[in-house]
């Protein structure tokens, strides 16, 4: 299969270094303390934050505990089937998201509390981890939890000797290496970088890491814009412009 045509177009008509359309909505779930829906192309994730609330169980007197669960809807991908939230993949994704987002929270300001993060993958078309991280970032900001910085995430891959940004499902199944990255733009710090599948020469890896950083910067720019817009809408709604 051909992933990049001689004209330099991908299966969905994008250029190799082009992000998919990013959609962010805040406050999509009324009952949560903070919530957000994030769309990257056809991938769509709902994130809900509950807390900081009284701990139920394990106690840390000096900081908050973050818990995380990722559920995938049966209708999220091509074939309809039950996709658990306790399977090995969901557990691993949940652990990665928890560690990454917890690193960005001022946990020491919320002692003896817990923060619960729930993710629901509504549509899966590649880049689930990145979309979850972006949705989680938005939901945490919506909940008003003290954060160190913004976090943006995107995935890069390498197919047919071409570095690709923000892969969709067809490209993720292409067998090349996948590098999801989470990045704090103001602190210029990489929070998370994985390499799933395949191997890479170091030179290519560096090219991909740079591309991922640029992609994350672009994503955080849009996250920032949507947070600002939401805040301004709230200000208008409350009549405190």
């Amino acid at each position: 299969m051909e992933y990049v045509t001689p004209e330099g177009l991908r299966t969905d008509g994008r250029r190799p270094r082009e992000l998919r359309k990013l959609g962010c909505q805040l406050g999509t779930l009324e009952s949560a303390d903070g919530s957000a829906t994030c769309e990257m192309g056809f991938t769509k994730v709902l994130a809900a934050v509950f807390g900081p609330r009284d701990t139920a169980g394990k106690l840390h007197p000096d900081r908050a505990v973050v818990r995380c669960q990722v559920a995938t809807a049966p209708f999220s991908a091509g074939e309809r089937r039950r996709r658990g939230k306790r399977g090995p993949l969901a557990t691993e994704q949940a652990a990665t998201i928890r560690e990454t987002l917890a690193e960005n929270i001022h946990l020491e300001l919320l002692p003896r509390t817990q923060i619960d993060l729930y993710f629901h993958v509504l549509q899966a078309d590649g880049g689930i981890l990145s979309t979850c991280l972006n949705a989680g970032m938005l939901a945490l900001a919506d909940a008003g939890i003290p954060l160190k910085d913004l976090v943006g995430s995107c995935t890069v891959g390498y197919l047919e000797s071409t570095p690709l940004l923000d892969l969709n499902y067809i490209e993720e199944s292409g067998g090349g290496p996948l590098l999801p990255m989470a990045y704090q733009p103001n602190m210029d710090k990489i929070l998370m970088l994985q390499m799933d599948k395949g191997k890479l020469p170091v030179e290519t890896f560096e090219v991909l890491a740079t591309l991922a950083t640029e992609g994350c910067r672009a994503v955080t720019g849009q996250i920032r814009q949507s947070l600002m817009n939401h805040t301004k809408q709230l200000a208008v709604a409350r009549g405190s412009v």
């Binding site: 807390g51 003896r112 939890i145 003290p146 910085d149």
Partner: protein, 201 residues
């Protein structure tokens, strides 16, 4: 005094630590002050001797303040929900003057009810379910409860209803009376002062 600024996001640099004091919704790192929540940036000039003190920079969320959780030493307001042999269980509602967004449970143990004669304290003669109580957070306690203390004059029951459903009037530091039925009940009564901050000075 306060100057309203632009809307900022977490990680936005607000100024240098040598020029401002980091207030609510901000944090300091490597000599700079950054926002930690989404909201409007405000700068409050220092009260009193303006030349010595630095202005305070804060970020205020549009969803009604940042998140508050009880910390050790905070004075909290709560409602007594049930009594045990050795402690009264309290739902913490407010920290200082700020309302909490969810319920936090605390308990006032017999030894923390008052400062003197603590071995003569019994819980039913100090609190009743439904009372509103001012208390101080002693410690984060065990897995289930914050430990609270009312062992100060200004701490204790601030509002209680008699069996007739009428707010009772304090008549001593350990008695309250119903103005209608003249029923007396025993409480650990708080000496309510107008401004607790001034009282502690």
């Amino acid at each position: 005094m306060s100057e309203r600024g632009p809307v900022v996001c977490p990680g936005d640099r607000l100024g240098q630590e040598s020029n401002y004091i980091a207030g609510a919704g901000t944090y300091g790192r490597e000599g700079f002050i950054y926002a930690s929540i989404v909201g409007r940036q405000e700068v409050t000039s220092a009260q009193g001797d303006a030349e010595k003190k630095l202005p305070i920079v804060t970020v205020t969320s549009m969803k009604g303040g940042g998140k508050v959780v009880p910390q050790i030493g905070d004075v909290v307001t709560g409602r007594v929900t049930r009594l045990r042999q050795q402690a009264a269980v309290v739902d913490i509602l407010c920290v200082g003057e700020r309302a909490l967004h969810t319920k936090f449970q605390g308990q006032i143990r017999t030894q923390d009810v008052r400062a003197k004669e603590i071995d003569k304290v019994t819980i039913p003669t100090s609190f009743r379910p439904g009372d509103l109580v001012r208390a101080e957070v002693l410690s984060f306690g065990d897995a289930n409860f914050y430990y609270l203390s009312t062992a100060k004059n200004e701490l204790g029951v601030v509002y209680a209803e008699s069996p007739a459903g009428v707010p009772m009037v304090p008549i001593s530091w350990q008695d309250m009376q119903c103005p209608q039925t003249h029923v007396r009940e025993r409480r650990k009564v708080a000496k309510v002062v107008q401004n607790t901050q001034e009282a502690s000075k």
